[in-house]
Symmetry: C2
Subunit: 214 residues, 2 copies
Amino acid sequence: MRLAELSERSGVTTATIKYYLREGLLTPGHRVSATTADYDETHLRRLRLVRTLIQVGGVSVATAREVLRHVDDDSLGRTVRMGAALWALPHVPEADGSDEDVATARREVDRLLETLGWSTARDLATLSPDHRSLVAAVASLIRLGYRWDAEMMAPYARLMRQVAVHDLDFVEGYPSESEKVEAAVAAAILFEPVLRSLHRLAQEEESARRYGLS
Amino acid sequence: MRLAELSERSGVTTATIKYYLREGLLTPGHRVSATTADYDETHLRRLRLVRTLIQVGGVSVATAREVLRHVDDDSLGRTVRMGAALWALPHVPEADGSDEDVATARREVDRLLETLGWSTARDLATLSPDHRSLVAAVASLIRLGYRWDAEMMAPYARLMRQVAVHDLDFVEGYPSESEKVEAAVAAAILFEPVLRSLHRLAQEEESARRYGLS
């Protein structure tokens, strides 16, 4: 397909597509003349992913490039390839509280992972930005005076594990290895707002069930 | 306690406390002399909530005032009071896609609520910003070419309902009605980053279990 069709099918303007090409977020089309290039389904797919990252996820061009570099690195196994791509996404900032609150939070997170038997999360604790984000979020709760410990977190963590099972089933529905990794990245960005809204609706529903609507 | 102690116990500077007092986010202390006022535990509690809203939640002063107005409105039943406070929090923007994608998304969300028997969410559909956020998030997935329908969402929604059960158990642990509503607002802001991090860690764990770490 030509640039105009790629634009129409992806919903991205030709000016933005040209910008993505210049920034190396999209590989060039197959040149058919001095001024015309031909694009295929892989370009369309990549354009959707770039749009998800930048327009929906609010990710910078530099970060998007870093994420795509991992997505395209087929020297890696699936877990590491997905992990590297997801770890490159923006995370909650580091914990900024007193050393004491952060130390308490880290201890509770460690106890949680121990209780759950999540050995990968424990092994990767010092590397994973998700582990750091969790410690920061828990430290913030503790600092504000909320009792929040491994026992409080365990049921939430078990439910999130079940959510992750559905996520990976979704990802496995895609045929090729690179499409699977792309789907994992897209899901990480696009499922969060769905989950957040479902969570809020579920709270309203549960509140109405318990206390009525008056 | 005096202003200095309130500042120390809350971790909020005296300048910021004075700003919150001027903006009406905190009720004045009990005046003991022309220049000195006395604060109690309710001030400390309110200050924590204001800090959660503004510093952690990134909410504007005007929005915080609106949220607190609902928190303090004891003419309302618990569901409506919590709902009003939570609805005043910032939400995902309205769906901005083509009418067709949004219409498809709305139809799938309606089918989902029907399947789940969430009658409150259905009754409040035209009022709830959470319903609008969900439609916007689903429309965004559809626009990007992902198959995303009521059947895909149902298992996620059921898990989020279980999360909501734990949230409300946490909220019910607080003694007074106003503390319960405050806890619901704080939880809405503070639990989200915890859930997001647990979700990502769970994905890593599940991926390692399925595909190994190589």
